[in-house]
C-alpha cells in the first residue's frame, strides 16, 4: 500500500457519457503527469447522479466501448470510476469499476441504495450483493459507494478480508445550512463517517466526492484522505473541481495496528454465531 493516490473531484455532466469520458481522459492525463499510481473518480462519474428515467437509456454494459476505453487506460495506473451498469439480464446497477493493467479487476455494485429524502436509487437500480475486497498489485482495497459507507458492516467485511484502504466514491448532496456550525450538516456527518472508518478499520480512507449542481442540488466536494489512525491526512476544497494527491504509506497502517490490534481481536466467529441466532429468531430483529 505504498502508492500515490489521485482523487478526481470532478463535475460530471448529467447523462452524457461521451463528454464525461473525455473529461476522464483529461483528469487521467493530469494525474499521470503527477505520477499517480491509483486514480479515483466519484460515484457515477461517467453518467452524473440524478439520472431518473435516463438511467435505463444511458446505462452501459461492462463490455461497452466507452467503459472499455477507460479500462484500457489502466495500463498506466489503477483506475476506479463509476457508471450506471446494465447487466445481461437487464438489471441496472450503480457500479464502480476497479481496473488495472488494462483489465477489469472488479466491479462493485452498490449494495445500499438510498431511497429516502431526495434519493430514489431504489426506484432505478438493483442492489448489489457482493462485498469483496479487491486484490490489486498496489494492495487490498475495499470499495464502498456512498450510502454503502453508512452501514459499518461493509467496511468491517473489508477489514476482515484484509483491506489496507477503503475507497469511497460518492455523490453527496449538500444539506443543512440552518446551523451556526462552519460546515453543512451533511458534510459534518461525512467527516465523522470517514474518520470512523479509518479509525475502526485502521485503514486509509479515500473519499472522492463530486462537485457541481443538478437541478439545484449542490454536491459539496471536500474529498479527503484519512490515515489508519483516523486523522485527516489530506483535504480538497469544497465546491470546486480539484485533483487531490496523497502518498499512501503502509508503515502508518502497521503502526496503527500495532498500537491497537483491532483486526486480531475482531472475533468474526462470535458475530456469526450471534447473527445466525438473531436471523433464526423472527422476533429478535423486529423489536
Amino acid at each position: 500500500m505504498d502508492c500515490l493516490a489521485a482523487l478526481c473531484q470532478m463535475r460530471p455532466v448529467l447523462g452524457d457519457a461521451d463528454k464525461n469520458l473525455a473529461a476522464h481522459h483529461q483528469w487521467l492525463d493530469r494525474a499521470l503527469e503527477a505520477g499517480a499510481d491509483l486514480v479515483i473518480f466519484p460515484e457515477l462519474s461517467l453518467h452524473g447522479y440524478f439520472l431518473r428515467d435516463l438511467t435505463q437509456e444511458v446505462a452501459l454494459k461492462i463490455g461497452d466501448p466507452i467503459v472499455q476505453e477507460l479500462v484500457a487506460r489502466s495500463k498506466d495506473c489503477s483506475i476506479v470510476f463509476g457508471f450506471a451498469e446494465e447487466s445481461d439480464d437487464h438489471c441496472f446497477f450503480n457500479s464502480v469499476v476497479f481496473a488495472e493493467d488494462g483489465k477489469v479487476l472488479q466491479v462493485h455494485r452498490k449494495v445500499h441504495l438510498p431511497d429516502y429524502g431526495i434519493f430514489e436509487e431504489g426506484r432505478y437500480f438493483a442492489a448489489g450483493r457482493e462485498i469483496e475486497t479487491v486484490h490489486s498489485k498496489l494492495g487490498k482495497f475495499g470499495l464502498l459507494i456512498c450510502e454503502d459507507a453508512w452501514h459499518l458492516s461493509g467496511g468491517w467485511l473489508h477489514f476482515l478480508q484484509g483491506a489496507d484502504a477503503m475507497i469511497l466514491p460518492s455523490a453527496s448532496p449538500a444539506r443543512g445550512i440552518d446551523t451556526d456550525e462552519p460546515e453543512l450538516t451533511s458534510q459534518n456527518a461525512w467527516r465523522t463517517l470517514t474518520a470512523a472508518h479509518a479509525l475502526f478499520f485502521q485503514s486509509w480512507v479515500l473519499h472522492c466526492n463530486r462537485v457541481g449542481f443538478e437541478d439545484g442540488t449542490m454536491f459539496w466536494g471536500g474529498s479527503c484522505v484519512h490515515s489508519p489512525f483516523g486523522e485527516m491526512a489530506a483535504l480538497a476544497h469544497e465546491q470546486d473541481e480539484e485533483l487531490l494527491l496523497f502518498q499512501l504509506d503502509s508503515k502508518r497502517t502497521r503502526r496503527a495496528r500495532l498500537m491497537s490490534p483491532l483486526r486480531r481481536d475482531a472475533q468474526p466467529d462470535l458475530i456469526r454465531l450471534h447473527l445466525a441466532r438473531l436471523l433464526q429468531d423472527p422476533d429478535a430483529l423486529n423489536n
Binding site: 455532466v13 448529467l14 447523462g15 452524457d16 440524478f50 439520472l51 431518473r52 428515467d53 435516463l54 449538500a174 445550512i177 440552518d178 446551523t179 451556526d180 456550525e181 462552519p182 460546515e183 453543512l184 457541481g212 449542481f213 443538478e214 437541478d215 439545484g216 449542490m218 469544497e238 465546491q239
Partner: protein, 283 residues
C-alpha cells in the same frame, strides 16, 4: 413559554452555495444573463446581490415595476438596491397594462373589498411576470425568482405571478435567514429594516396579514418541516393550538401552488408522474 428561535443560517456557506448555484445553473442551460423584478423589499434585494456576484452586474437586469398606487418609497429603495449591487436597472410602470386588464371586469376598478383587492394584486403580480418574461426573451436572460421558503410554504404569493421563475436561489431560506444573509451581503439598511409588505395597499404589512410574526412562523415551519416535529411536540415547544392549526392548514391548502398543474393520467408514461427527467438533462 418562550418559543424556540427561528432557524440560524450559515451565511458564508449560503453565499458561496447560492452564488455557485446561480452561475452554474444559468450557464449550463446556455444563458449568461439574468433578469429579475425589484420590489424595494428584502427578498429581491438579496437576489440581486447574489445575481451580481454570480454573473457580474453588467449581466443582471433589475426591473422595478410600480403600479400607480404603489408606495413611492418602494421605487426609491428598488433603485438604491440596484445601485448597491451595481446592476442594470429599468423602470416599467405597469399601471396602464394592469388598469386595462382591470377594466375588462366591470366594477372591479371601484371595488375596494378584500376579494377585489386580492384580485387586483394578483393582476399586478401577473403583469410583472409578463414584463419579466418579455425582457427575458428580449435580452436572452433567465428569470430569477424571489419567493422565500416562508412564502412558498404558506402560499403567500401569486401563482404564475411573482412565483414564476426559471431559477430561485432563495426558495429554501426562511424569512429570518433572508434577513441574516441580507445583512451579511450589505443590503441597504433601509431595506433590511423595512417591515415586509406585499404593497398591495397602503400600510399593508405581511405580519399583520398573516396574524403571526415571521420569527414565530419560521420557528414553526422549521421545526415542523425540516426537523419533523410532530403536532404534540410542537405544542410542547410552546406553539399555541391556534398557531399549529392555522399554519398547518395553510401549508396544506397551498400545496397546489408548489406543484405543476395536475395532468389526467391516461398513457403509460405521463409528464412528471412516470416520465421523470431532471431539468438539467444533458446540460
Amino acid at each position: 413559554m418562550t418559543l424556540p428561535p427561528p432557524p440560524a443560517c450559515n451565511v458564508e456557506l449560503a453565499t458561496s452555495a447560492l452564488t455557485a448555484f446561480l452561475r452554474e445553473e444559468t450557464r449550463k442551460v446556455g444563458f449568461q444573463k439574468a433578469v429579475l423584478g425589484l420590489s424595494g423589499g428584502i427578498d429581491s434585494a438579496l437576489v440581486v446581490e447574489l445575481a451580481a456576484r454570480a454573473l457580474g452586474g453588467e449581466n443582471v437586469l433589475a426591473v422595478a415595476m410600480p403600479y400607480r398606487t404603489s408606495n413611492p418609497i418602494s421605487l426609491e429603495l428598488a433603485q438604491e438596491s440596484a445601485q448597491h449591487a451595481a446592476v442594470q436597472f429599468e423602470v416599467v410602470d405597469i399601471s396602464a397594462m394592469a388598469d386595462a386588464h382591470i377594466a375588462t371586469s366591470p366594477g372591479l376598478a371601484e371595488d375596494d373589498s378584500d376579494a377585489a383587492r386580492l384580485r387586483k394584486g394578483n393582476i399586478m403580480a401577473r403583469c410583472r411576470m409578463i414584463v419579466l418574461y418579455d425582457r427575458s426573451a428580449r435580452d436572452h436572460a433567465l428569470v430569477y425568482g424571489t419567493s422565500n421558503k416562508t412564502e412558498l410554504m404558506l402560499g403567500y404569493g401569486t401563482i404564475f405571478g411573482d412565483m414564476a421563475s426559471a431559477l430561485n436561489p432563495i426558495g429554501d431560506l426562511y424569512k429570518s435567514q433572508i434577513v441574516a444573509l441580507s445583512k451579511h451581503l450589505g443590503v441597504p439598511k433601509a431595506i433590511v429594516d423595512r417591515p415586509p409588505s406585499a404593497d398591495l395597499w397602503q400600510g399593508q404589512t405581511d405580519e399583520e396579514e398573516l396574524g403571526f410574526s415571521y420569527d414565530e412562523v419560521d420557528a414553526f415551519l422549521h421545526h415542523s418541516i425540516d426537523r419533523r416535529y410532530t403536532r404534540e411536540e410542537l405544542l410542547q415547544l410552546g406553539f399555541t393550538e391556534t398557531a399549529v392549526n392555522s399554519l398547518s392548514r395553510r401549508v396544506q391548502i397551498n400545496q397546489y401552488k408548489r406543484r405543476p398543474p395536475v395532468i389526467a393520467k391516461l398513457a403509460n408514461r405521463t409528464v412528471n408522474l412516470d416520465y421523470r427527467y431532471a431539468r438539467d438533462w444533458g446540460s
